[in-house]
Point group: C2
């Protein structure tokens, strides 16, 4: 490909001049501008982004660091989150680099990405990468809270414990005394948060939830998340004691409802169902319409990106933001007689 040097020579000017024509950072005479542009067109010249980035030490790219599960499928939550990130970055002229590469332990492999900042999904406990980014001087925003908490780290998150606590109270208020909780997989911090919130609500009423009613998703066990809901109900209904099911997502609830139809269980007459989920459209369209929690994943993404963009302009900025989850009452929960 043609370089800035080729254009400069053919147009009889210096590289600096060509550079200025494209960047408009200093004024170039009309005549020269036109000559340069026409030569550039002839030669098929386009400025080299990488060289430019090296010179100005900016790439106008935001990194999105997310683990990809073995089955390679993104959850609806992740998708909406990403959507929010993309939208906000795009509004500000940033591109998004998706980094789903499995992490190598050899630090030699850990090269800095060509990004001006990064958004990291699902940080782990004592996540070593956080310290690494700060060493590299790369602005970082987490989606999900740092563990342990750290006032110097920017993040956005839902309050999952509070949310589960509220869902628990809602069901208790309806008269339910025993639930089946089809939680996310055990290795996610959100699972622990939810379980603790739900348990707390029950404990406050002097009740407890037996361990066999607290189920975690296992990738090896289920082909899909709706399958998880379907088989969980099939295998436990009538055996375990519960009048309501709390599911990880609306997709899981989909499977629960299918199983209920097959077993002749009336929802919400015989069984209440509620999802700790986020895809409002789907919940609306189900029959009966699904009572669920709206996590606003897209808002999380937008907020994370917005904070990152601020940090990329002023590294000293720190923001921690909790996005409210709201319980949307639809048709799948009913009070016990």
């Amino acid at each position: 490909m043609a370089t800035i040097d080729d254009v400069a020579k053919h147009a009889g000017v210096s590289k600096g001049t060509v550079s200025s024509v494209f960047s408009k950072k200093r004024p170039i005479s009309q005549a020269v501008t036109e000559r340069v542009l026409s030569v550039a067109r002839e030669l098929g010249y386009y400025p080299n982004h990488v060289a430019r980035s090296l010179a100005i030490k900016k790439t106008m790219i935001a990194g999105l660091k997310m683990p990809i599960s073995k089955d390679g499928v993104m959850s609806q939550f992740e998708i909406q989150m990403i959507n929010g990130v993309i939208r906000e970055c795009s509004r500000h002229g940033y591109r998004v680099l998706l980094d789903t590469l499995p992490e190598h332990d050899d630090p030699r492999q850990f090269s800095s990405d060509p990004v001006d900042g990064v958004i990291m999904l699902n940080p782990r406990k004592n996540d070593a990468r956080i310290e690494r980014y700060s060493q590299m001087g790369i602005p970082l925003v987490l989606v999900g809270r740092p563990d342990p908490m750290d006032p110097t780290i920017s993040y956005v998150d839902n309050d999952n414990k509070l949310m589960a606590y509220q869902v628990g109270n809602y069901l208790l208020q309806l008269g339910h005394r025993s639930v089946l909780f089809l939680n996310a997989s055990a290795d996610m911090t959100v699972s622990a948060d939810r379980q603790s919130g739900l348990t707390e609500a029950f404990n406050e009423q002097g009740l407890s939830i037996p361990p066999e009613n607290l189920v975690n998703f296992l990738r090896k066990l289920h082909v899909s998340v709706s399958d998880y809901g379907y088989h969980s109900l099939m295998n436990t209904y009538g055996k375990l004691n519960y009048t309501a099911v709390i599911t990880d997502t609306d997709r899981v609830a989909l499977g629960v409802l299918r199983a209920a139809r097959e077993l002749g269980i009336d929802v919400p007459g015989d069984l209440s169902v509620i999802a700790l989920s986020n895809d409002a459209t789907l919940a609306q369209e189900m029959s009966p319409k699904l009572t669920s929690v709206e996590l606003s994943a897209e808002v999380l993404g937008t907020q994370a990106a917005s904070i990152l963009i601020q940090k990329m302009n002023d590294a000293s900025i720190v923001k921690q933001h909790v996005v409210d989850a709201k319980l949307v009452y639809r048709e799948t929960c009913r009070s016990l007689p």
Copy 2:
């Protein structure tokens, strides 16, 4: 941040040696390797990706060029496609740069991205960008066929015309003589392809489809795609003449089914429904289970990425690949008495 120069000086070696320690491109003695690594750790040195890319003229990044609709929401098809691209790229050590930036007409704005190749979604008619990438010497793979056809351009696609033709024949075989077609928005080439395939099937039987039964999605008219299905049925049932509805996606079908429930229309007793869609999980979970076309969007993505990776190693490679769509018979279509 520390640079290779800092490490070299502190370790008392040359930059070339430090470089080799990290790249392992030439053997470095055990003793020196350890010294360099320890200094690097002390200084918090990580190789600069941008500088490295400039030197080796490779970024190990694949670009994914996709327009983002005004509402900023990706369709399920796009999501699955992206999923496929990510998975395949990730397998081969590539990262993915999402470029959703609106295109500028000023060629000065059109800087080359820091990518080794690009996958472009939904190419337009006589898309100028195709020529541009070839000028820049950047390997390109389209998702969707080039228009006009060009044997030198690599792409993957479904055969949408054939698919619609087959769906038409299936319904005709069941005895349906009039359909309502809730197509995608009119500006997509896939919409035209489908309409022509469906029309052809009807014409072969000496039948035609009245224009008012051929509907296109309008973003300004509907808040969501399921809303599109819902209102289309509500507004036309009993007014227009049809015994079957063909929908763009399963989401649209969701809305159609909801409207049918509210109107007391039995599916498939009174009305058949079929979706030209791709999210098999959802179709399975609906009640009744939705008859639909499986487009294998993820396979399209995987294939596109796979071809791109080949091209990035040998630019002369050209592959054109049509991914089969398959009609999955479930419960929402029935033959007329």
